[in-house]
Symmetry: C2
Subunit: 254 residues, 2 copies
Amino acid sequence: MNLSTDQLNQLSINIDHWVPGHSVDCVIFGFEDQKMKVLILKLKGINLWTLPGGFVRKNQNLDEAAISILKERVSFQDVFLNQFHTFGGLDRKDLDSLHELLGDQNKKLLAWLGQRFITTCYFALLNIKSVVPQPDPMSNQCKWVDLNNLPILYADHKEIIHKAFSHIRIQLNYLPFGLSLLPEFFTMTDLQSLYESLLIKKLDRGNFQKKMLKLGIFERHKKKITGGAHRAPFLYSFNLTAYNKLLKDGIGFM
Amino acid sequence: MNLSTDQLNQLSINIDHWVPGHSVDCVIFGFEDQKMKVLILKLKGINLWTLPGGFVRKNQNLDEAAISILKERVSFQDVFLNQFHTFGGLDRKDLDSLHELLGDQNKKLLAWLGQRFITTCYFALLNIKSVVPQPDPMSNQCKWVDLNNLPILYADHKEIIHKAFSHIRIQLNYLPFGLSLLPEFFTMTDLQSLYESLLIKKLDRGNFQKKMLKLGIFERHKKKITGGAHRAPFLYSFNLTAYNKLLKDGIGFM
């Protein structure tokens, strides 16, 4: 199924407002069921999943373009956003898929979209429970998928996701990932699961909790209500002042 | 002084070979006299220093464009090169300076150069003593300057340098900066100076050496020949196998 004539017209009219050959893609990470998740969209007409992305308006800088995408897809709020890499390979064009999507109706648009697109990529970290993702005009579905179980993705989008994740791991000590990915109140087990997902290794429970609590960046709250009353775990939240102060020099935890 | 007609013609002919609106800039770092240095070029005709940079050929990917620049400026060899950020601000065009440089002779070129340029930036780490930098066709001088004492630079190039340095600091545990910036044989004092320049703080000598040598990534050689025979420091080099193995998981030194 091709795009409707209306949708095509809408795109064509806008061509002149956009920077040619440059796009922005966002790898939006969340954490749920003890797993890192990524938000992907399903392109209309062709059976392929993509990252949320878009073009750059001539009156927009790159950060603004990325923020627009996040606003539209996840109603941008409390999202940590970071540019991490620009992909400019010669194979960054995909005329076959575009042909399938657009047909032969609009040659100007096809030529514009068919040039090599250099794409500047951002990663975002957010609390899955706080957003309701929306598909864009080019897509009809969006969903969270496991980082470790990605479907076939458009062009080099899988490579982009893996690169984003490796950047997060390298910058781990400087990123407010706990604050961004966890709900406001969490247990030490939640935090440990998150660390384990990012470090890709199991950690010793006692040792983890001791080291973490020593950092002085948490506030302890009432115990989490569970079935059994005894051994219910404490809930914690971040002490923002202490957390931000520590992040500046890097949390040298691992 | 404007560019010569020959130089202008050379640039104009090439316009069609280049990706419009996209450039690549390189922050080339070296280490000398216990200080971090950056390589800059002086633009012909206007009294401004710039970073080594260039356009992207339509048949080049971004990494290839950066490698060309390094090859031409410092005869690329043993250089650690890493993309770190793409700058796409709306103010990334500088028609006044271009007017001064190009005059009114070539309106097509002026318009081409006068559009907003999104620039993808790389940092390189190299041993200053191993290279003889060359100016490019747009410049008539190049020199190493102290990172902490930069002259006035073209457009946002100062911001680009500071961003590059902050990326190096964040990725410190994963970068082969010792191997790239130091000569093959070095003393522990050389290594400590380098660490101090990157961490921007003084370190305790005894503690530093103890921690460093514990990493098991060095080979010890003959003592450095100095004036007095006693207390001459040992020379070290990296054991590449051990060093690269440790870098994979990050050298958790600081």
